[in-house]
């Protein structure tokens, strides 16, 4: 075993970390968050120029053939910087689906445009009734001559407002909760019959409610095999879960560091509050929660290419644990900052909000504890 990082990984870390230090302070970030668009196209282009958008993709499409550990390093650093730009949505999640399930032609058509920064992708999988069940799908894609007709509604599609293309889960057969009969489609967001309701999210991002009304899709828009999209979806979602755990790890690290600095600096009763044993123990418990989170995230990331059940179990273990530590560290950081922790002006509240929403994303603690238990029986 070896838990050290390669030179290349250290380079990715240094690159992203430099970008954040120089260009992504809280003020710069909040300016982007509050802008009309809500993300920065210039930053996105910079990610492309730095090669970050190419990391996980195959060489033949212009990618760097990077591993899940490579993107984990990038996600950790993005977590530290509370980066808003849709790296997770485009490169990891939608990019993952494309890489695993796309045909050669589809990859040739879209991956180079992701890598160049030209196209942003979002994955539309959740519905208002579905909660975390990926197979609970009412949206339908009916077969017609040379293609499909898509009808239905998707909820809380992250990065929806920015996306050029959507990957949409829809039912081609079976009933509402069946895994069989789920298919994935790559859809141009400008297609006729698509309408969006865009809004800001509480963690600084943007999302959309999207409705599809008799949207005509060609045969080429199908990703993977008809009716058999579920395994592909789950594989990509598990990779996305591991990546979002890494993002949380980065955010937790930053939050712990900020809080540690604060308890050394803030004085009450004539001494730094870090002198109080109550505070010391809490700082230690936060550190332990963080170290557990790092460890279990590495574990899950290293199991992504293992047999399906092992992958599923590892990822659920990590996501459940991350949800717990994210909540703990977030709440404690606010508490220890006192009134300062409640303001919009410190980064503490922003980390707390992002960490909270990571717990909600792609299955919360309850969901993953249940999934882990079911897989262990």
């Amino acid at each position: 075993m070896d838990f050290s990082f390669s030179e290349e990984q250290e380079l990715y870390r240094a690159t992203v970390s430099r970008f954040i230090q120089n260009q992504y302070g809280l003020e710069a970030r909040q300016k982007i968050v509050n802008s009309d668009l809500g993300m920065s196209r210039e930053n996105w282009q910079q990610f492309a120029d730095l090669g970050l958008l190419a990391i996980p993709f195959a060489e033949e499409y212009g990618g760097l053939e990077g591993s899940a550990v490579d993107t984990m390093v990038v996600m950790e650093e993005f977590g530290r910087g509370l980066v808003i730009e849709p790296y997770f949505e485009t490169v990891i999640f939608s990019g993952g689906i494309l890489s695993i399930g796309g045909s050669n032609e589809q990859k040739q058509q879209y991956i180079p445009r992701i890598i160049s920064g030209e196209c942003i992708f979002a994955t539309a999988f959740a519905e208002s009734q579905s909660r975390y069940n990926l197979a609970d799908i009412k949206t339908t894609a009916k077969v017609r001559n040379g293609g499909f007709i898509l009808n239905g509604k998707k909820s809380v599609v992250w990065a929806g407002p920015w996306a050029d293309y959507l990957i949409v889960t829809a039912r081609t057969s079976g009933s509402q909760f069946d895994e069989k009969g789920v298919s994935l489609f790559l859809v141009d967001k400008n297609s006729e019959g698509i309408s969006l309701k865009n809004y800001p999210t509480i963690d600084g991002g943007r999302a959309s409610e999207i409705s599809f009304e008799n949207v005509e899709l060609s045969d080429e828009s199908l990703l993977g095999h008809i009716d058999d999209g579920f395994d592909l979806l789950e594989a990509a979602v598990d990779r996305a879960r591991a990546a979002i755990c890494a993002e949380a790890v980065g955010a937790m690290k930053a939050l712990h560091e900020t809080t540690l600095d604060y308890v050394k600096l803030r004085e009450q009763f004539g001494v730094p509050i870090g002198n109080f044993q109550v505070i010391q123990h809490r700082m230690v418990d936060m550190l332990i929660a963080y170290e557990e989170a790092v460890s279990i995230t590495y574990m899950a990331t290293l199991h992504l290419d293992h047999p399906v059940e092992e992958r599923q179990k590892s990822v659920s273990a990590a996501k459940a644990k991350i949800g717990q530590s994210a909540r703990y560290i977030g709440q404690e950081a606010v508490q220890i900052h006192g009134g300062m922790g409640m303001t919009d002006e410190l980064n503490v509240g922003h980390y707390f909000k992002r960490l909270t929403m990571i717990d909600v994303s792609l299955g919360n603690q309850d969901y993953h504890v249940r999934r882990f238990a079911d897989l262990t029986q």
């Binding site: 968050v33 509050n34 802008s35 009309d36 668009l37 809500g38 959740a126 208002s128 009734q129 909660r131 975390y132 069940n133 609970d136 909820s155 809380v156 992250w158 407002p161 509402q176 909760f177 309701k197 865009n198 809004y199 800001p200 999210t201 509480i202 963690d203 991002g205 999302a207 409610e209 004085e267 009450q268 009763f269 004539g270 109080f276 109550v278 505070i279 909540r327 709440q331 606010v334 508490q335 006192g338 009134g339 922790g341 409640m342 303001t343 919009d344 002006e345 509240g349 922003h350 707390f352 909000k353 909270t356 929403m357 909600v360 919360n364 309850d366 504890v369 249940r370």
Partner: protein, 397 residues
């Protein structure tokens, strides 16, 4: 022991309930249900109705315009207000400042200020905390220096709730820096219209705006606005702080909130069935209800055994558990709405922003209120400070 309720208390409860039902402005229910930002006038509308009835100041003695209720009646009254989801009355003037004026203020101050508090004519905010003095309040520094018939005040107060609405602020200021830090603090009443005062809003992480920084630059305050004796303000403030901590358990409001949470969990789906039938989630709600039940009887024991108005260290215990229960409700509410915790009503307004609510209407405050409720273990004496008080005063540690 006997948990039956005296008939006069039952009748009293009915009277209060009927009154609220008949007179509470229904537009306020709508506004609160839609989590719209509340204005000063919203608070005052209900204040004036209660004032007219003679019920605005339940804890005041009759001679100053209180209703002359027993502690049990006051408790029932608060319960009914909470159960009805009524907008809160302003604690700063009614339960924090007024007792100090009654006990330590002079005749002129009492005669001038108390009726204006009752009528709602003056809105008060509390100027205690400073950037450097929070938990360690006695280390506050804002100087008030005698100059002729005035004090001249310079410095800042912070976290001041609703300073943006206030006509007056009651402040702890430093009038002497020699000796023990608790000595040399004075209690000063300051008109917010005095030249040299500026109020800077502080946005909180939930997107809301309740708190402020208040800056004082050469603010001249007539010495007649000093309460009690110079340099003895700490004693008065301490008496007042224990008033602040009372009523914070807010059991009745939590009961209402849990009921609403159950309703959300009955509407929200999980694998096709109501979320409330999900065994993990229903267990968590049940555990919370059990906690609240224990807290309720803890509070009832304190209220019904009360010999005086002073709940003693029970106040700290009620505040600790009450705030934790409130926060837990917020957690479960956010869990219940799943992905609809994301849409942020108070986020940036942009050219293509959707009209809220995005999901079902109950989802839109799940996120903001979860984040906002973190304040309950910070203000009014943080949980760490409360535990310290109990350790010292109950356990003798």
């Amino acid at each position: 022991m006997d948990i039956s309720i005296a008939i006069e208390d039952v009748l009293f409860r009915e009277e209060v309930r009927d009154f609220i039902q008949e007179h509470y402005p229904s537009y306020l229910h709508d506004k609160i249900a839609k989590s719209e930002e509340l204005t000063k006038e919203d608070f005052l509308v209900w204040h004036r109705i209660l004032h007219k009835k003679g019920w605005i100041a339940p804890s005041w003695p009759k001679e100053y315009g209180g209703p002359g209720w027993t502690s049990v009646q006051r408790f029932i009254f608060n319960e009914e207000l909470s159960a009805a989801g009524a907008i809160t009355t302003m604690p700063f003037s009614l339960t924090m400042l007024a007792p100090v004026l009654m006990q330590y203020g002079n005749e002129k101050q009492r005669e001038y200020f108390l009726p204006r508090i009752l009528s709602g004519e003056d809105w008060w905010c509390q100027g205690y905390s400073e950037p450097g003095a929070g938990s360690d309040l006695a280390s506050l520094r804002m100087p008030a220096v005698r100059d002729g018939d005035d004090y001249v005040v310079n410095g800042s107060k912070t976290w001041t709730t609703f300073a943006q609405f206030a006509d007056w602020i009651f402040c702890l200021v430093r009038t002497n820096s020699d000796g023990k830090k608790q000595m040399g603090i004075s209690f000063l009443l300051i008109d917010m219209k005095t030249p040299g005062i500026t109020v800077r809003p502080i946005r909180t992480l939930d997107g809301g705006y309740d708190i402020n920084e208040v800056h004082f630059e050469n603010v001249r305050v007539p010495i007649e606005n000093l309460v009690g004796e110079e340099n003895f303000g700490w004693t008065y403030a301490k008496a007042l702080l224990s008033h602040e901590r009372g009523g914070i358990a807010d059991v009745a409001r939590s009961e209402v909130a849990i009921k609403a949470l159950r309703k959300i969990a009955t509407t929200e789906l999980s694998d096709g069935g109501p979320l409330i039938e999900n065994t993990i989630f229903s267990k968590k709600i049940a555990e919370l209800e059990i906690d609240l039940l224990a807290l309720k009887y803890l509070e009832l024991r304190a209220v019904f055994n009360e010999k005086s108005d002073d709940l003693g260290p029970n106040v700290s215990i009620l505040k600790l558990k009450g705030s934790e229960v409130q926060q837990r409700i917020g957690e479960l509410r956010l869990e219940a709405v799943g992905y609809y915790g994301f849409p942020f009503k108070y986020g940036p307004q942009t050219s293509n922003t959707a009209i809220f609510p995005v999901g079902p209407s109950y989802t839109q405050f799940a996120g903001p209120s979860y984040f906002n409720l973190r304040k309950t273990t910070i203000y009014g004496g943080s949980s760490e400070i409360q535990r310290g008080i109990v350790a010292k005063s109950v356990l003798g540690l």
